[in-house]
């Protein structure tokens, strides 16, 4: 590679005691400069691509969605995901009866949510129903965080679920979840958003003390 040009340097032979001005080369070794240049380029390339936010399309119903709409839906094609303060799990059920012993509300880890959607799709195809009628209702329980919603919505995108709707949970579902939590000894969820905020503040204070 490039190296310092020293050819014009040490000339001690000539001259009868006459001091000769040293002839310095005008060539500079540019290797480190090039190194630095490319290092900075790589940095800028990586830095720019990493911080660019991306946008996810989302749509909401402009009119209040009634439960009547749900009644018209195919019982088999309806699935519901309810998410609460727990970021790693969702309450999931198929059909229109949350208290159904087989397909009723279950708390499943977020990692299994995808499988639940795919299983529903398989079942629909097996019973000759086009899987495009599958309808996912996304419902939030008090104390939920936006990030959890995004995790749920991400599954909509990953599994290309065509019909989804963001709705509020009905009282029956809330009742069933309370009973489910009691039965399975899962700590009760906050009932209102105010209570959830209080609980979160308490937790924060406790963490601060420790």
């Amino acid at each position: 590679m490039a190296e310092m040009d020293t050819s014009s340097g040490g000339g001690h032979k000539g001259g009868k005691g006459v001091k000769k001005g040293k002839k310095l080369s005008t060539r500079v070794d540019l290797t480190p400069m090039v190194d630095l240049g490319f290092l900075l380029i790589t940095f800028f390339i990586f830095a720019t691509t990493l911080t660019t936010p991306k946008a996810a399309k989302f749509r909401v119903p402009t009119d209040e969605v009634d439960d009547k709409d749900k009644m018209n839906m195919l019982d088999k094609a309806a699935i519901t995901a309810l998410f609460g303060p727990d970021e790693k799990a969702v309450y999931f059920y198929r059909g229109t009866k949350p208290d159904d012993p087989v397909n009723g509300i279950k708390l499943i880890p977020m990692a299994q949510f995808r499988k639940a959607i795919l299983d529903t799709r398989k079942d629909l195809i097996a019973s000759n129903i086009p899987d495009s009628v599958m309808n996912l209702s996304i419902k939030a329980l008090p104390g939920a965080k936006y990030g959890t919603f995004m995790d749920v919505y991400d599954e909509v995108q990953i599994n290309v679920v065509k019909n989804y709707v963001k709705v509020k949970p009905d009282s029956n579902e809330v009742k069933v979840i309370v009973a489910y939590n009691e039965y399975n000894k899962i700590p009760a969820l906050p009932k209102t958003d105010e209570e959830a905020a209080e609980m979160a503040a308490k937790k924060k204070a406790e963490n601060g003390k420790q």
């Binding site: 590679m1 490039a2 190296e3 040009d5 070794d29 540019l30 290797t31 400069m33 090039v34 240049g37 490319f38 900075l40 380029i41 800028f44 390339i45 830095a47 720019t48 911080t51 660019t52 936010p53 991306k54 946008a55 996810a56 399309k57 989302f58 749509r59 909401v60 119903p61 402009t62 009119d63 995808r114 939030a140 008090p142 104390g143 939920a144 965080k145 936006y146 990030g147 959890t148 919603f149 995004m150 995790d151 919505y153 991400d154 995108q157 990953i158 599994n159 290309v160 963001k166 958003d193 959830a196 905020a197």
Partner: protein, 254 residues
């Protein structure tokens, strides 16, 4: 036999050209890089598999920022749009800003406070005083009963509808050269720890305005292997490549 002389070549290479290229590229990247705008609040977006890019030049964007604590602020792309937003809000609410106040307002990338607080806030900011963070646009407790108090509705209407329609000619749809949208492109820029109630309320307010499509800002996450989305994207990619391959052939035929 004559001695075979192997010419001695210097191992040093002239680095000047390479250096030139390196710094040319470097300056190109620096100049084209968009600086992350300093927002009024720190927002960490959730991750998602969505790949839509944002900030397309010929689009009119309005951003609704939602912080970790549920503070809601509304932001525009540049300072002249911010100034216009300030002027229009003032006109709609029956007051006006002085030039000094508008200059202070222009420096902000987003606005978020009660309409009544706007004038005193920027009157104080115009004097060069250190200002506290903006309190956020107040949201009603219940959207159904407190319909009169939905201030965000007015903000979105002014920024996303009034201003968009006033500037419509400049934001024509590229392909058809005509305007297809009634609303500007609305982005929801929410923190992943933001309470869902607030985000939900904001979305419900959009729904009230019959604004049913908008975009959520996220950071990129890998698409899971073997998922339906991956298959769809592969198909789209293959189609795009096919189309690109067919295009020059069509031109030759013409």
């Amino acid at each position: 036999m004559p001695k075979l002389k192997v010419p001695r070549k210097s191992t040093s290479i002239d680095m000047t050209a390479m250096c030139d290229v390196a710094f040319l590229l470097l300056s190109f990247f620096i100049f084209t890089a968009k600086m992350k705008k300093s927002t009024e609040i720190e927002i960490e977006n959730p991750t998602s598999v969505a790949t839509d890019t944002i900030g397309i030049k010929n689009k009119f964007n309005v951003t609704v920022n939602i912080g970790e604590d549920g503070k809601v602020l509304i932001g525009m792309d540049n300072d002249s749009l911010m100034e216009d937003l300030g002027k229009r809000v003032a006109a709609a609410k029956g007051f006006s800003f002085t030039d000094a106040e508008l200059a202070a307002l222009k420096k902000r990338t987003s606005l978020g406070m009660d309409f009544n607080e706007l004038k005193p806030f920027f009157a104080k900011a115009a004097t060069g005083a250190d200002m506290p963070p903006q309190p956020g646009i107040p949201l009603p407790k219940d959207l159904k009963t407190d319909t009169a108090a939905i201030q965000l509705l007015d903000w979105v209407k002014i920024a996303g509808y009034d201003m968009f329609n006033a500037a419509k000619d400049a934001y024509k749809d590229d392909e058809t050269k005509r305007i297809v949208e009634t609303y500007a492109t609305i982005y929801v820029n929410a923190d992943k720890k933001a309470p869902w109630v607030v985000v939900d309320k904001v979305m419900s307010i959009f729904a009230k305005l019959k604004l049913d499509r908008f975009r959520l800002l996220t950071t990129l996450e890998d698409t899971p292997k073997g998922s339906d989305l991956e298959k769809v994207r592969e198909k789209e990619m293959a189609e795009a490549i096919k189309e690109a391959a067919n295009k020059p052939a069509e031109k030759e035929q013409q």
